[in-house]
């Protein structure tokens, strides 16, 4: 048996993998300096699942986010840092060991507020060093973890409440206990395959007393059901050995989701919020006798709204009568739960609240739009501005310079923002172009028009960005008998050959040739039209929840072939893959030709190849059928046959694939747990982890001018891998060389203003800009650890003009030369002359990079170019550089003069003050500053400062020197000549010049700093 298994493994190994086993086993050994760049945005932030505070250090705050990992603040919630990037980013619960809260942290993955768009979890993690290193300690198939509770008297005793699978049956749910610090687990409360633990609490005075709420729930792609006869609130008084229902005073009939909270100041006081059959019996219940009896106190909207999303109750740790409830706005009661008022203005959808450990006026609140702080008991709320955890459903790009990224967010509208901005990409750089849940946004290819879609085509806005005009263009039913069915995430698409053409998918494909002003239906119903999946008005279970998010049997993806506009692909949420080859006249459903794909698996994306009209890729997402497998297929014959390109390298169900424009074997795949790349058409996939969190990648696009790979992630905003072109060249032959140099792209000299402001950047997220320098890229087959390695930059004449610290990584290295030349040597004075720090830019032209590594030398030429989009001519540049050079030389001549003068003065100090020595000092004082300091004690500028300042003014300008600059230049030249002549006459009178052993000018300049 073992032998057979081994043989099978060997047979399936790709050939390339065998020959280059060492090099490509691991993406970390290949991708090197290709690194992800995060641009946010953070201004609207994203959904928070759980807030956790350190029990003794009031400055430490943790936010467990729905799709963006775990973030830690060490300053009371002003600034947060991510501490869980390498692992599943969907977080259910974060808990600190009360006995070792600085070091021991538990993270339960899988968010627990079970909306339709939730991500999935993959288990429980533990860190024993404050989050620097993590280990998974079980619950691989738990899907979502609601609570982690640690005995405050015994760190080894841990209880975990597992909500479990949302989309199907699972027995890995209920309450678990470990008595060995998480090494092993025992399931101590289990009901059935659809009932999980939704909330849990421990009596702080008696760790054997536990409460657990169990919830029967289930989602499908077309429905949601909350509640059943298995939902209940349980209590154990023996550390989980036995459990009893505590329903005395509860409403009769089925129950739904229940929240449970203990008042820490009086553990007899409990609160629960109940989802019940009868609306009048829903709401907040209180027990004053540790659960023996319950009394209903309140059934306001704020308390009963959407139990699956908001069943969180938090009691003020110092006052049993102050209770906060999650909700659409969040509610606070100060009379023990009898009456409530809304929390202060903030983003809606409040999921968790944490009271400061010492001062109840200070609260931290987790919402669908990030973390808020309150200093006054929830009256006014301020948002944390540096949590870039925005949840994109989709992104698209334009061809502007710099290009913009467009996309829609869960509950946070639609936006576009630049891929680069002076000083970094700040909150103010993002433009809002939609409301509600934002989904797909597309920029017209030639006109200043943006299409933006919201929530099941409730609105498809056509925005004229030039005139700020908006109209809605969604297709409406023209036929009385036909109801259009739009997905919550309705597909819209454009044509690469007809700029005004626009597509929308309902169950039909709608096409407009005039930007949505008029519509034609160009297909029959392309879905299964299964009536069983069309009863959304019945969705919700005990609480009706027909938001539109469950609309099903709809078109989900549309792709017109860039090669042939008569070829259009359509994928549906119920698993069809349809293609027309005649612009919609006839359609063929090709799904039957796809091997090993379970029926009705959601067709999430179809990518029509840029190389061939018959070639396409299809990505299927089965997770709403509780199937977490990866499904990616390729056809080269219009769907007559499909072949899987999935390997075991990939983890997580996939949502999107992007084909490279140049190398057909280079593909990028976005899964629930990150980015995967293949360079051989799918025989082997490598995970990309360089600054790339294990976040759900919902959409990928490739910018054709920059070759930037841009990802819309559902939890970490927009993430870009700049210029993926080196990956096109990677081959086993190339990787067998010690060193491979990639071409250095021509670099445009950046003359644009970098006044960015950065006001507020102390506490705001600022997205990183792309590298504008000359980028030298090479591949090393082995890390350079021993011996010398260096990179010099030579100009066309072969003179060395710069030096760059080389990268030493195994894999792809990218090092930058910022085309700055060295600044002039300036005369030594009492203080610094800031103008003397000016490093002039290198002139446009041809340069050469020379890399020495041990005994070997490698060379690569490159171009530095003028920005021809700016009003700058080569003649302007030449004149600027000519005058800069004159001032540079003048500065260095002065430096040499002052050096000699200092030596002469130094020699003379041993002698009696004389008229001569006074003349030496007078000259010196006219050449450089000899008093004052570098700040407001600065002295009157002298010749050194004047030369340096003009040098700086001329050299840093994009333009030729002005007439006034030249007048100033003439004046300084004259002063310099006068100084030289005074100096020469003093030098002639100096006795014992030979005793000084002065350096000559060349060696002085070589050694001076």
């Amino acid at each position: 048996m073992k032998t057979l298994k081994l043989t099978l493994v060997l047979l399936t190994l790709p050939f390339w993998g065998q020959s280059q086993d060492d090099a490509i086993k691991n993406g970390k050994a290949l991708f090197g300096d290709l690194s992800a760049r995060h641009i946010g945005p953070a201004l609207m932030s994203g959904r928070i699942n759980d807030m956790t505070l350190h029990p003794t250090n009031s400055l430490i705050v943790y936010a467990g986010t729905a799709g963006g990992g775990v973030w830690k603040s060490s300053d009371g919630g002003v600034v947060f840092q991510p501490i869980f990037d390498d692992y599943c980013q969907s977080i259910g619960a974060v808990a600190l060991d009360p006995n070792d809260p600085d070091n021991t942290i538990y993270v339960g993955t899988g968010e627990t507020w079970t909306r339709n768009s939730v991500s999935v979890g993959d288990g429980l993690y533990k860190s024993t060093d404050g989050g620097a290193n993590w280990k998974k300690i079980g619950f691989e198939n738990s899907d979502r973890i609601a609570n982690i509770v640690i005995n405050p008297n015994n760190s080894n005793e841990i209880y975990v409440g597992v909500l479990g699978a949302l989309w199907g049956d699972s027995s890995e749910r209920g309450v678990y206990k470990s008595t060995d610090g998480g090494e092993s687990w025992e399931q101590i409360l289990y009901i059935d395959q659809r009932t999980g633990c939704a909330d849990m609490a421990m009596d702080p005075n008696d760790p054997n007393v536990l409460y657990a709420s169990m919830w029967a729930f289930r989602r499908t792609g077309w429905s949601f059901e909350s509640g059943g006869d298995t939902s209940a609130l349980y209590k154990s008084t023996d550390g989980g050995k036995s459990w009893n229902k505590i329903h005395n005073g509860f409403p009769s009939g089925d129950l739904g989701r229940l929240g449970i909270a203990i008042a820490p100041s009086n553990p007899k006081v409990l609160y629960t919020v109940i989802e019940a059959e009868e609306p009048s019996k829903k709401g907040l219940y209180r027990s004053d006798d540790a659960g023996n009896s319950w009394q209903q106190l309140n059934n306001d909207f704020g308390i009963t709204v959407r139990p699956f999303y908001f069943s969180r109750i938090v009691v003020d740790p110092r006052n049993e009568d102050v209770v906060v409830k999650g909700g659409l706005s969040g509610s606070i009661s100060r009379d023990g739960g009898k009456t409530f008022k809304a929390l202060g203005n903030m983003h809606s959808d409040i999921h968790d609240i944490a009271f400061h450990i010492k001062d109840s006026n200070i609260m931290y609140v987790g919402t669908d739009g990030g973390v808020y702080r309150s200093m006054n008991g929830g009256v006014t709320m301020e948002i944390v501005e540096n949590l870039p955890i925005s949840q994109f459903y989709h992104i698209s790009l334009d061809n502007a310079k710099p290009y913009n990224v467009y996309g829609g967010l869960q509950d946070n509208g639609s936006w576009y923002g630049p891929s680069s901005s002076p000083g970094g990409i700040e909150a103010k750089d993002w433009e809002s172009i939609g409301q509600g849940d934002g989904f797909r946004v597309l920029k017209h290819t030639t006109k200043p028009i943006i299409y933006s879609e919201m929530q099941g085509a409730d609105n498809i806005w056509r925005i004229d960005t030039e005139n700020r005009l908006i109209k809605t263009i969604q297709p409406l039913p023209a036929d009385e008998a036909v109801k259009l069915r739009f997905n919550w995430n309705t597909p819209i698409a454009m044509s690469s050959t007809h700029p005004d053409r626009f597509y929308v998918g309902s169950q039909f494909l709608h096409r407009s040739e005039d930007m949505g002003d008029s519509w034609d239906i160009i297909s029959p119903d392309l879905t299964t039209n299964d009536p069983m999946k069309q009863n959304q008005e019945d969705s919700g279970g005990l609480s009706m929840d027909n938001s539109g998010a469950e609309n099903h049997t709809t078109i989900f993806t549309i792709a017109e072939s860039p090669i042939d506009d008569q070829v259009i692909w359509v994928g549906t949420d119920d698993g069809n893959v349809q293609v027309t080859r005649n612009g919609g006249k006839t359609w063929t459903n090709t799904v039957a030709n796809i091997p090993d794909l379970p029926a009705n698996t959601w067709t999430y994306h179809i990518e029509a190849s840029v190389f061939d009209a018959g070639t396409a890729y299809a990505v299927f997402d089965g997770h709403t059928q509780n199937d977490m497998s990866t499904y990616v297929y390729k056809t080269t014959d219009y769907g007559a046959s499909w072949k899987s390109i999935v390997t075991d390298d990939i983890v997580g169900f996939a949502r999107n694939i992007q084909e490279d424009f140049v190398n057909p074997d280079l593909l990028f795949l976005g899964t629930e747990f990150g980015l995967y790349i293949t360079m051989d058409g799918g025989q082997q996939w490598l995970k990309f982890t360089n600054n790339m969190p294990a976040v759900a990648v919902h959409f990928i696009d490739l910018q054709p001018q920059t070759n930037d790979l841009v990802m819309g992630t559902h939890g970490r905003g927009v993430i870009i891998v700049d210029d993926i072109s080196p990956l096109r060249e990677l081959s086993s032959e190339m990787m067998s060389k010690n060193v491979h140099l990639f071409d250095i792209k021509p670099t445009v000299i950046d003359e644009k203003s970098d006044f960015g402001g950065n006001f507020g950047a102390e506490t705001q997220f600022v997205g990183a800009n792309p590298n504008q320098s000359v980028q030298i890229k090479y591949y090393l087959s082995k890390r350079h650890t021993f011996g010398k390695m260096g990179i010099d930059i030579l100009n066309a004449e072969g003179q060395k003009v710069g030096e760059v610290g080389p990268g030493k990584k195994k894999g792809i290295n990218i090092v930058s030369w910022d085309y700055r030349l060295k600044p002039p040597i300036v005369a030594k004075g009492k203080t610094i002359t800031f103008g003397g720090f000016t490093s002039p830019k290198a002139a446009p032209g041809t340069y050469k990079m020379v890399m020495t590594k041990g005994k070997d030398t490698y060379e690569q030429p490159f171009e530095l170019k003028l920005d021809d989009t700016l009003p700058i001519t080569p003649a302007d540049y030449e004149e600027r550089d000519r005058v800069s050079k004159l001032l540079f030389d003048m500065s260095e001549s002065l430096a040499y003069m002052v050096y000699q003068l200092d030596e002469m003065i130094g020699h003379n100090t041993n002698q009696k003050p004389s008229k001569y020595s006074k003349r030496l000092n007078t000259l010196k004082e006219s050449l450089v500053i000899t008093t004052g300091d570098n700040y407001v004690g600065t002295a009157e500028p002298q010749l050194r400062e004047k030369i340096a300042n003009l040098f700086s003014k001329v050299a840093t300008s994009y333009d030729r020197p002005s007439a006034n600059d030249m007048e100033n230049f003439d004046r300084l030249s004259k002063q310099m000549k006068e100084a030289e002549s005074t100096f020469e006459s003093l030098k002639k009178k100096f006795k014992n010049m030979d005793q000084l052993a002065l350096k000559d000018k060349v060696s002085f300049l070589e050694t001076a700093n």
Binding site: A132, R783, F786, K788, P806, K822, P823, K828, N1009
Partner: protein, 256 residues
Amino acid sequence: MNYFSRLITLLVLAISMSNYAQTADEIIATYHENIGGIDKLKAVNGIKLSLKINQGGMELPIEVIELKDGRQMTKITFQGQEIMQGVYDGTTLWSTNFMTMQAEKSDAETFDNFKLGLNDFMDDFIDYKDKGYTAEMLGIETIDGTEAFKIKLTKEPMTVEGQLVDDVSFYYFDTDNYVPIAVQTEVKEGPGKGMMSEATMSDYQEVDGIYFPFSMSQGVKDQGSQPVTVVSIELNPTVSDDMFVFPDSMESDGGN
């Protein structure tokens, strides 16, 4: 046997045994052996490094002197001005204020933390157990594209904003040759608090029988770094006491 042939022997050894069997102790011992031997390291009484960094075209020369008795200094020179940083004369830790070019004492907390490092001359790992440090082998990870042993070093607790905290670093030793190629430490204060700082080391070359990295880079993990080039290293340099002495401006002003 020269260093490189020793390396080759090691490589063969490494193949024949499981990497995970390596303990932190063995890795550290092999590292010391590979860079010249613990005796040679302990025999050094002082070190002078000439470094350079490049800032936007401007090359800044930096001179660092560290002595076994704890005295040390860093001197940066530009425009003929010498800026002293982290100078310790055995009593006072001081730096030059850039605005006034006057010497100023470090704050008390910085100084207290600085003193904890006085027993780490040449290398944190020399006699690390005697110093009360712990080294824990965490496993093999890929860094800079290559496999490395990840070792967690915990030194004396330090004080950050008035609180005692563990001083933890994560060292990455190349599995081929056992020299450290990267060190990560959590940034403990300032705006980057909570981020992971990362230094990498390469271009190891021999100076008087001991291997030193002649190239380093320093930065925050995943956020770019500043290369530092070592131009030369001198062991047991000649120094004069006045290079380190704190020039007390209050005292001298008062005296005049």
